[in-house]
Symmetry: C2
Subunit: 219 residues, 2 copies
């Protein structure tokens, strides 16, 4: 039995469970975001800001993927929305079976928006569908503008790309012109947001939230 | 056949090839560093600085791991040292077989130090031995000080940890006290370096190079 066949089997099983999850989420009318990035791009900080701006009008639930800890889930819980922690036990991505377990412990009748924060990893999560309506990839300016071409699959498959940590842009050699060119060459349909989540003031989060509200309404 | 058994088989095969690689590298007296981190922590920039400081007295070769591109290898080649690019074709880590192929195309009689720059990924590369003498994990300040506890395996297995992008420390909420506590709790024997590679001046790279020279001499 070759390595490749095994991978196909795993993905096939994942697709079956994911299809069931997707049917359930569609029946409930829930808009689902699969949020992916490298470790440390600021996914959780961004999500905290989005929840703060949306939670009065949108019923939000969050699934947090982490290898071992509950650090991110604790931060999200402090925002006052339901959160389920998936600990992968060292595995490098979330899959359909893990999501099924998490959905079973959420009251889906009270959810308009489900955000799945994937394991911090710019490679593996791109290969696993989770039943989401959209994949959003977050890249932060200190990571460098060469990352979309170096890790293309995640950017190719994303409906939206968020350039985060704009506040650090001036201290890095991040080239925004090249970044836009590269995203456009990989995925001309992706909508791009620029954000910053520093404590005193955020930037671009309102635009992101307006767009998320539209996506929820259009579902 | 369960998933777990397959993973064991892959790792078993990897270990066999890696043992052969390690014997060859030991025969040649080459000190081997497996350099790992998230995408965008600054591995390549750091390596450029290290090469610049060491290359007059140390014969260096580099193996560059990337999913598809040769961007990093081109940067290293510009430093005037032999470099081999491994493109994993989307795979999330380097393994023994890939390293064997790369070693076959290097003249190992003219090498004192071999640096393997792994695929940017804080999860998967930690599980694959490459025949190295030491694993070095690089973390950059914008990624956040919570990363060692969130991605422990890589930090547990590393003989050295490099905290890079010190120049951005003041603009982030990175907590150095917690970082040192966490590394100490995961891996009390790891030596920690603090570095910065901004264009005008670097920081900590001389100390890192002094230590690498000692490691080479002690082999």
């Amino acid at each position: 039995m070759s390595k490749i066949k095994v991978v196909e089997n795993i993905l096939h099983t994942n697709d079956e469970i994911t299809s069931q999850n997707k049917r359930l989420l569609n029946e409930k009318g829930i808009y689902v975001i699969n949020m992916m990035s490298s470790p440390g791009s600021g996914k959780t900080s961004l999500l905290e800001r989005v929840i703060l701006k949306l939670k009065d009008n949108v019923r939000i639930a969050v699934i947090e993927g982490d290898l071992y800890t509950t650090k991110d889930a604790e931060r999200i819980e402090a925002q006052g929305v339901p959160v389920v922690q998936i600990n992968t036990g060292g595995a490098c991505h979330l899959d359909g079976k893990m999501i099924k377990g998490a959905l079973d412990s959420l009251n889906l009748d009270n959810v308009d928006l489900l955000v799945i924060e994937n394991v911090g990893n710019l490679v593996c999560p791109a290969a696993f569908e989770l039943g989401e309506d959209i994949k959003i990839t977050v890249l932060s300016t200190p990571e460098g503008n060469d990352k979309p071409l170096k890790y293309p699959r995640m950017f190719e498959n994303s409906g939206a790309v968020i350039l985060n940590k704009l506040d650090l842009l001036e201290f890095t050699n991040f080239n925004k012109v090249e970044f836009y060119q590269d995203i456009n060459s990989l995925n001309a349909h992706a909508i791009i947001f620029e954000t910053s989540c520093v404590r005193e003031q955020d930037q671009g989060v309102e635009e992101l939230c307006t767009w998320i509200r539209q996506q929820i309404n259009n579902k």
